[in-house]
Symmetry: C2
Subunit: 308 residues, 2 copies
């Protein structure tokens, strides 16, 4: 029976001012997923990692996303999914999105490539909704499209790829737990119009900075005066870590997705390395176990690495 193996990348959503509308695929970490046709109908899921994620197809994100595509196609065979998760669940860098996105890209390849990327995002959302409780595409879309992605409208999936200049991304995952649902619950439901204007001015600046390859403008625009002040309180040491990263020359950064991971963008590799060691040092000092990455933009999204 045929088999496809994919690498499904981590993603940084929001990018400060771009709450719920921007997401960026990164080269590391990524999940490794193998999808194999079986004669026996139904979906069998196996994990080769230590995270004890559900194996029931109706409770596993990849299972639900795959079933959604199977139903649309009318495929009568079965599938076995083997997942080696390297993106730690709950880290805030799109672990659940990687599961959903990886499986639909793999399945599309086995089922005759009949779906567009946009349609794949739609199937993947059916899976991701069981993790986040909401149909959001700001991790899924960059995971499938690659690079930096704007989701202008979620209901119609108006997804636009944005060119970026080369960037280095430093990530730290402090091993504290923040539930996405809680991180969403603490947000204000109403905000001052004045603050909203500041935020959308920065969104406009950020998008312009990327498209015009203007690093300084990207840096000036990487501000979030609405979400970050609320969510950063859940991350011990946030203000100090951020301050030191900026002093070390990072363009800017903040909370990745709903956290707890932090990200910082840098123009140069050496800066990004230094920023990562600052991140590590600061959380070490606070006795918080942490993992850091220095990575680059993943322009391709989910990648097929093996067919057999």
């Amino acid at each position: 029976m045929r088999s496809i193996t994919v690498h499904s990348p981590a993603t940084v959503s929001n990018l400060c001012c771009g709450f719920d509308i921007l997401g960026l695929a990164i080269d590391e970490p990524y999940d490794i997923m193998q999808l194999t046709e079986t004669e026996q109908p139904g979906i069998v899921i196996r994990h080769t990692d230590q995270y004890n994620l559900p194996v029931s197809p109706t409770e596993n994100i990849a299972g639900v996303a795959l079933q959604s595509m199977i139903d649309a196609v009318g495929y009568t065979g079965g599938f076995e999914i083997v997942i080696e998760k390297q993106i730690k669940p709950g880290s805030g860098i799109g672990s659940s999105a990687a599961s959903a996105a990886g499986i639909v890209v793999a399945a599309n390849a086995l089922l005759g490539n009949r779906f567009t990327k946009k349609e794949l995002v739609n199937f993947a959302m059916d899976g991701e909704v069981i993790a986040s409780g909401a149909r959001h595409a700001d991790n899924l879309a960059p995971c499938i499209y690659g690079g930096l992605v704007l989701i202008r409208d979620t209901p119609t999936l108006d997804i636009i790829s944005l060119q970026t200049p080369p960037l280095y991304i430093s990530i730290v995952h402090p091993q504290i737990e923040i539930k996405t649902s809680y991180a969403r619950k603490i947000l204000p439901t109403e905000i001052p119009l004045k603050s909203a204007v500041v935020q959308w001015a920065n969104v406009a600046g950020l998008v312009t900075g990327f498209l015009q390859q203007d690093y300084a403008l990207i840096g000036r625009s990487l501000q979030d005066i609405i979400i970050e002040p609320v969510r950063s309180k859940l991350i011990p040491g946030f203000d100090e870590v951020k301050k030191q990263c900026l002093e070390a020359g990072a363009l800017g950064g903040g909370i990745s997705g709903s956290g707890p991971s932090l990200f910082m963008l840098s123009e140069k590799r050496e800066t990004a390395d230094q920023v990562a060691s600052i991140m590590k040092n600061e959380f070490d000092k606070r006795g918080i176990e942490n993992k850091t990455y220095v990575t680059t933009i993943n322009d391709s999204g989910v990648k097929i690495v093996n067919r057999s």
Copy 2:
């Protein structure tokens, strides 16, 4: 004594979702301003139009902006300003900004071109504040820079020029009075976070549409779910006019600045002409005197047309 004549263009600020941060200079209408050195210190102002604007230098926008520059330079002579206003005051297409911007560009040319465009915006703001009561740059900046301009941050005047594809702009000025201060007072001070996200997604889409020359994306993004629903109630027939303009093929549009003028962007001249006649027809039907323009983007901003 030396003399400079400038054309100072009208501007469309906000552009729907870009409230307080975007502005566009247009080729027509424009004010004609002549600035002449005088030996007698002080500022003398003359008008050759019918609008009866103040001639006292401390009450006239151009006078205040000019005085601000004179103070900075330490110029000890005087100036005569002759203004032929063609942008009707209170029309919502940057009439007061044109006065302030035109005079500082002219004065800079006579005083040795010592100021950057950003500094000129700053002087002009000193003038415009007496009209609007607030230091806003979303008309002034495009008037001085030309083209489409993003004001990412008003206090530091972080002004960014954005490339646009060719566009035709239809404008209608229904002759009803809306005070800028009233149009600002009726805005909500708090808005739902959900609405703000929709708005900044559209801002991001609009900026991307301009920079990537994507007309369809510009059209999809020209939406304003926050300001327009409130201010459009001040303009009789707004919803019907807008609906008909979109049906005629306009990409999108809405209220220019704080109104009462409406603007619509079109990809083709013929569409823009048809849109303007729809605008005219709709306000005629309602017995509201009106004036329409079909114009293009003014890429140069305030232009020196004569030196003597």
